[in-house]
Point group: C2
Chain length 339, copies 2
Amino acid sequence: MATGTRIKTDEGQGRPTLALGDLYAPIATELADAERIFQEELSSRFPFVQHLVDHCADFQGKRLRPALVLLTARACGSVTPSHSVLAAVVEMIHTATLVHDDILDEAMVRRHAATVNAEWGNETAVLLGDYLFTHAFHLAASLDSTRACRWIGEATNRVCEGEMQQVHHRGNLDLDEASYFAIIEGKTAELTAVSCRLGASYAGASDATVAAMDRYGRELGIAFQIADDVLDIWGEERVTGKSLGTDLEKQKLTLPMIYLLRMVEPDVAAEIRRLLDEAHADHRRLIRPHLERTGAIDRAWQKAKLHVKQALDALDVLPDSDARSLLRILAQYVVRRSS
Amino acid sequence: MATGTRIKTDEGQGRPTLALGDLYAPIATELADAERIFQEELSSRFPFVQHLVDHCADFQGKRLRPALVLLTARACGSVTPSHSVLAAVVEMIHTATLVHDDILDEAMVRRHAATVNAEWGNETAVLLGDYLFTHAFHLAASLDSTRACRWIGEATNRVCEGEMQQVHHRGNLDLDEASYFAIIEGKTAELTAVSCRLGASYAGASDATVAAMDRYGRELGIAFQIADDVLDIWGEERVTGKSLGTDLEKQKLTLPMIYLLRMVEPDVAAEIRRLLDEAHADHRRLIRPHLERTGAIDRAWQKAKLHVKQALDALDVLPDSDARSLLRILAQYVVRRSS
């Protein structure tokens, strides 16, 4: 494997020592193309709009979804110019949801920079998100057929449904595991699934392989979101570079909390619910000891790892290749990351 | 003209007595199809989401954009099943912008009903708007080619740019006429233009006719927005069924105010600007005498009528037909409406 020498995982620590840049080395050219397409598509003759676009381009961090498009393409056949366009499209959709999510979460910081709502207000953030959404569809429509528009349309419909369900269940301190999974499958896993499906399909893969890649992306997305939710309770802002604890503040029950409330004695559960109802409590600090004592965090991690395992199983349909190995490492990476 | 007997305009009053239902009679079947497609596309398995969709379906009022798609199609050739889909798409995009606009304007009432933000909060309104946008693109992608997605993508990109420029210029009490027109050409005229362009193109019209219909829709959209802006200052909430005066409250300078500030003496202009800077002033009541005295309102109406004239001129390319007559009446209607 060409990049094997640069990707070292420290199995003893259970943490990869690789940077994502190393993992992405085989698709560096296509990622750079996608980046250029992203910038060109969003460019505006209005300086204010251009300034906003430049600002939110800095939010691009892990570039997970573009990488999924490109690595899946490589694992299933070959990477074509369409794939770079698709990589830019999925990143644009993702950025749109980030900009709108930050409004919902009243988040102030994203990737060590001010959020759009914090810097320019909610109004501008609403419109910039719309601008990103409509440009993503416009860009998808530059491809030959309507396939990408249809698939991306369908996926983003479900992303929005998942997000609306999440808002609807805010303050529902009895949220069950099934509803939690319905939410995260919509808001997160749909987009990672469609990224992989597009990568495979535009590389000419068979229907069965396309379906397997959809499953890989979906399971990876679920694992990723569980990890993200654990970090919101358990991570450090200094490391993650974004506002944390917003789920607890906004009374959004996530997997560790669902497990916790099920694991503790009824009177402790009642006490924790009372605490979550208090507006200005230091939720993270006060809830940590309970999470530690019960092992609820660990249980959530185990669940995330189970979904990683299912993602890896879906890769079995592919012939052995460097790209398949990278997809395996990427799936393991999302539950080991600290940001 | 088949519908001629039912459309009576009272020329003496300068106001049509027709209801839009009469005007739309020749396209009633296709409008009903579009309505059904709209509902089906947005339906959700989640009761909360379905409830929101049902609520915002009530916002549909004039159905101006679907009517433009269908009447243009009829005037240029024949109405096909694709046209009903396109009619649903443009109405969905329009509804998305309304839902998001109401957040920006902090509007409480729309078509005599509570706005989504007033009833369920800004968060839900952001997500419902996104849901409408993504479904519109998904529906557009159900057509044969990428043409509709490309054109609608491009138009909505410009709608968002126009809206962002508007937010950027809020509080700019020196906004000039050219900047005002750049804003309304984006936020309003792009969507009416693309509605007509799609109607003509999917009816098999020549490139020259498609371009003329684009011009018709654009000029009509400009006239419509000027009229809407006049009504925000000069209309009655009881009649329009929506919150008025928001432009003044939000320090959004529109055409009557731009004219007013140019027409009055410098010291009066300074006084008016000071008034607009006051948060809780009864702007509408206090500014009315100035608008009356200077004739600024009338001047804005004249400008709107000039754009109607240009819209009518663009129709000259079409052969005489019932549909062309209805497009003429519709253009005149938008500057005579009271709601």
